[in-house]
């Protein structure tokens, strides 16, 4: 738009033209987001109230089931008397309220009172639990979904907790001035740049009960120990335990996944975030603390931990969001959700119902929306209560 042209258009037209070009800039992305995000999300919401078999993808075969999907997903039933149920719910709510009140007052309490409060809460929680388990037997209408939810919570909690501890520890170690530190950083970063699928296949092999490296190592250690015991005159075979059937046993499948996750992420992007945060801490703080005679733990507690607070908060939020959404790939490659559904996360549950098991797209969409709502609530809680704890 050169001078003469400018003069001929009014200010209003110019503004409209401005808007038009701006929209044109946005248009490619906008269309994409509309078609591949907004449209699917709306469709998914509608599908959540329908039943639709994936093997016959005709619009005519969609059946409206109303809230049926959601009530089947989340529905619970019990044979307990109404008094018992109301009483149980009241007790649980009271416990929850007490917990929230305590959390709000937490910083104002003295240490012994804190301990007393925790003890009282634990006792009350135990009592409520005892009452629930004695009088109220809840039965889920879709136990598999609740199991998947529980699996997701367990994997997510251990995953995020372990990640924060391990990665911070690792970052502090890798932040030291040692000659070979870059080599270490590289080795620890290797799993992050490897194909995740390849690593899951690798770990499935490592976890093999008979010929897996982990169990070979465990057996070799046991036998070596027994050999030593026998050599000094002890019994022939002192230790008789057998190594676990890692992925084949419902009790050990989740720990196996968690361990693998820690190995995978110990030196990965989370560690780099912490490393960046540590590199951003001014050295003077440590020098001043040293002059004041603070020991290593005090320095960590008073300087390092608060200074990496925003990073921890970020990792926590992202970890919760991703943790709830994740778990499909591991489960698909290593266990197909088994054994007995022990590694079926919500994510795997949704895809399994949509594409493999029932192929009911409506039910899967409803489950996806439940997951969405859950993530939203958790994120809001995190923002609400987490940000206060962060010292900037």
């Amino acid at each position: 738009m050169t001078g003469p042209a400018m003069r001929t258009v009014s200010a209003k037209t110019a503004r409209r033209l401005d808007t038009l070009t701006s929209v044109l800039f946005c248009l490619p992305n906008l269309i994409g987001v509309l078609v591949f995000v907004v449209l699917p999300v709306s469709a998914s919401l509608v599908l959540g109230f329908c039943m639709w078999r994936a093997n016959r993808l005709e619009l005519a075969t969609i059946d409206w089931v109303g809230l049926g999907n959601f009530s089947k997903l989340l529905g619970l039933s019990t044979k307990a008397s109404i008094v018992a149920v109301v009483g149980g719910i009241a007790m649980a709510v009271a416990l929850l309220v007490a917990l929230v009140v305590l959390l709000r007052k937490w910083s104002g309490l003295s240490i012994p009172v804190r301990w007393a409060m925790v003890a009282a809460l634990l006792a009350a929680g135990w009592g409520v639990r005892a009452y629930w388990s004695r009088d109220i037997h809840l039965e889920a209408r879709d136990p598999q979904f609740w199991q998947a939810l529980w699996n997701s919570i367990v994997l997510m909690t251990w995953g995020v907790g372990g990640r924060i501890v391990l990665c911070l520890g690792m970052a502090m170690l890798l932040n030291q001035r040692l000659r070979e530190i870059v080599v270490h950083r590289t080795i620890y970063f290797l799993p992050t740049v490897s194909s995740a699928i390849a690593l899951y296949i690798l770990w499935q092999a490592l976890y093999h009960p008979d010929i897996g490296v982990i169990n070979r190592f465990l057996i070799a250690s046991r036998d070596a120990f027994n050999g030593v015991v026998a050599a000094v005159g002890g019994p022939e075979t002192w230790l008789t335990w057998q190594p676990p059937n890692w992925l084949g046993d419902a009790g050990t499948a989740k720990p196996a996944f968690i361990l693998m996750g820690w190995w995978h992420e110990m030196g990965g992007l989370t560690m780099l975030l912490y490393l960046a945060a540590l590199q951003g801490i001014p050295e003077q703080l440590y020098e001043a603390a040293e002059i004041d005679g603070a020991n290593a733990w005090q320095r960590f507690r008073a300087i390092t931990w608060p200074m990496v607070g925003p990073t921890t908060f970020f990792i926590l939020i992202m970890g919760v969001i991703r943790g709830f959404q994740g778990g499909f790939q591991q489960a698909y490659i290593m266990t197909r959700g088994g054994p007995a559904g022990a590694t079926t996360t919500v994510d795997y549950f949704i895809y399994n119902r949509a594409f493999f098991q029932d192929q009911d797209l409506g039910y899967a969409s409803a489950a996806a929306w439940v997951l969405f709502a859950l993530i939203l609530v958790l994120t809001l809680i995190n923002w609400r209560y987490g940000q206060r704890k962060v010292h900037y």
């Binding site: 701006s22 994409g32 932040n175 001035r177 995740a196 092999a205 440590y286 899967a364 996806a368 997951l371």
Partner: protein, 454 residues
């Protein structure tokens, strides 16, 4: 937030502290490296090494002895019981569809087991044997290789000629039937692999009278050590590469990732510029909407997108793999934040000089944003290269699979043959690992621009 790969704390550690830190780091590094080490070792093994008991941790070196030991099964070493073999061959094994191949002619049949530890090269002397005067068209072998990279040379003295076949490759696993024809043409009615026995002096032999065969010599010829080692160690890789079209998977992955990266960077840069620098009504509301879409789990969108692809007839095509990923709220967000940090003066100067918006974007904004664009491109490419869920559901046929899906299909096919699985995994992993090891900054520099940027 500053981050540098080669930056450390300034303070020095005491000797005790340094030793402790070193010890912990070393233990951790071993934990990290052992699975990778096992992966490489397993991929370098052939089947025989995998099956060997007790378990071998390291791949086997080929034996330094150039002559391999072997035995002839059908014929005992001292008294060759030929009648048996030949009659058996004529009457029993020449049954069913095999009969067609051998009609009117017999074959001399034996089994050679390279794996058995018995005597080396041997000559089967038939001079004293009473053999029927039957025309024989071929010499049939059952070979079992030991994976040591040997070739077998077969020499047959018959009808006053010398028939010879060099370089009969000895296989790696299991028994394999080899047919050496006296006929000079290489045609087998059953479509089997045939080896011609060349006549010396040359000429068409066709059939040889069984009675005239005086001597059969089998000689194992060793290749040089490096060649045998190469053959043995790359066995799993070659087998894996042949069993699935990994080349095609590579091309698919590369094409899809490049297309997605290019498209995403382009659309994100355009939209990011509009959100950062252009003024238009509803801009910030729209931007909030964009941000909100980042919270939506993939599980919500994948099912309807899958239906959409089916209905458009795009299922199992490149369109399905690429188009839904071209538009990213994350990229738009990241680039908008970066554009906001650029000085406005340059842009204004360009405007005053008469540049339109597109020109400003192309000639001022983009060149200034190279680091951010490169970071976004890296992250997008890596994300797309490793993406699993969407390609798994959006494609079906073998020639449309991308690398991770191909690897998963390979796992379904060879679920417990760990040497093959590890070789396939390494085939998939090696390029990214190589890029990483040669250019670590490329992978790590994005960290200060991504998530943590406030």
């Amino acid at each position: 937030m500053q981050f540098r790969w080669r930056k450390y704390r300034r303070g020095r550690l005491s000797l005790l502290q340094a030793t402790l830190v070193r010890a912990v780091l070393l233990i951790g590094a071993v934990t990290m490296a052992v699975p990778f080490g096992w992966m490489v070792c397993t991929a370098l093994k052939d089947k025989r090494t995998m099956d060997s008991e007790p378990y071998r941790w390291l791949p086997k070196m080929p034996s330094a002895d150039p002559t391999v030991s072997w035995s002839v099964d059908y014929l005992s070493a001292s008294t060759p019981d030929f009648e048996d073999v030949v009659l058996r061959d004529f009457d029993e094994t020449a049954a069913g569809d095999d009969r067609a191949a051998r009609q009117g002619a017999g074959s001399l049949s034996m089994a050679v087991d390279f794996a058995a530890d018995q005597t080396p090269d041997r000559t089967i002397d038939l001079s004293s044997a009473e053999l029927p005067d039957t025309p024989v068209s071929m010499l049939a072998f059952w070979l079992r290789g030991d994976g040591s990279g040997h070739h077998l040379r077969v020499t047959v003295h018959g009808d006053g000629f010398v028939y010879r076949a060099d370089d009969l490759p000895v296989g790696f696993e299991g028994w394999k039937e080899v047919h050496c024809y006296f006929r000079q043409e290489q045609f087998d009615p059953l479509g089997r692999e045939v080896v011609p026995l060349r006549r010396d002096p040359p000429g068409d032999g066709g059939y040889v009278s069984l009675r005239s065969i005086r001597k059969v010599e089998l000689t194992a010829v060793a290749e040089p050590l490096w060649s045998r080692a190469w053959q043995r160690w790359t066995y799993s890789f070659r087998k894996a590469w042949q069993s699935m079209p990994f080349g095609r998977f590579y091309l698919n992955s590369l094409f899809v990732s490049l297309a997605v990266t290019l498209g995403q960077v382009l659309t994100s840069a355009l939209a990011g510029y509009a959100f950062a620098r252009l003024r238009w009504p509803g801009r910030d509301k729209f931007f909030l909407m964009y941000l909100a879409t980042m919270m939506i789990p993939a599980a919500v969108t994948i099912v309807p997108t899958f239906v959409l692809m089916k209905m458009l007839g795009w299922f199992d095509t490149y369109r399905a793999l690429i188009l839904p990923l071209l538009f990213s709220a994350y990229g738009t967000f990241m680039l908008r934040q970066f554009f906001l940090s650029l000085p406005a003066d340059l842009e204004d100067a360009a405007r005053i000089d008469g540049c339109g918006k597109l020109r400003v974007w192309l000639h001022v904004i983009l060149p200034l944003s190279k680091p951010a664009l490169a970071t976004l491109a890296t992250f997008t490419f890596l994300g797309c290269w490793g993406a699993f869920q969407w390609p798994l559901f959006a494609t079906q046929s073998m020639h449309m699979k991308v690398l991770p899906i191909g690897l998963s299909a390979f796992q379904d096919k060879f679920s417990v043959q760990y040497n093959l699985m590890m070789a396939a995994s390494l085939i998939v992993m090696l390029p990214t690992l190589a890029v990483f090891l040669f250019n670590q900054r490329f992978f790590t520099r994005g960290i200060q621009l991504s998530g943590m940027k406030e």
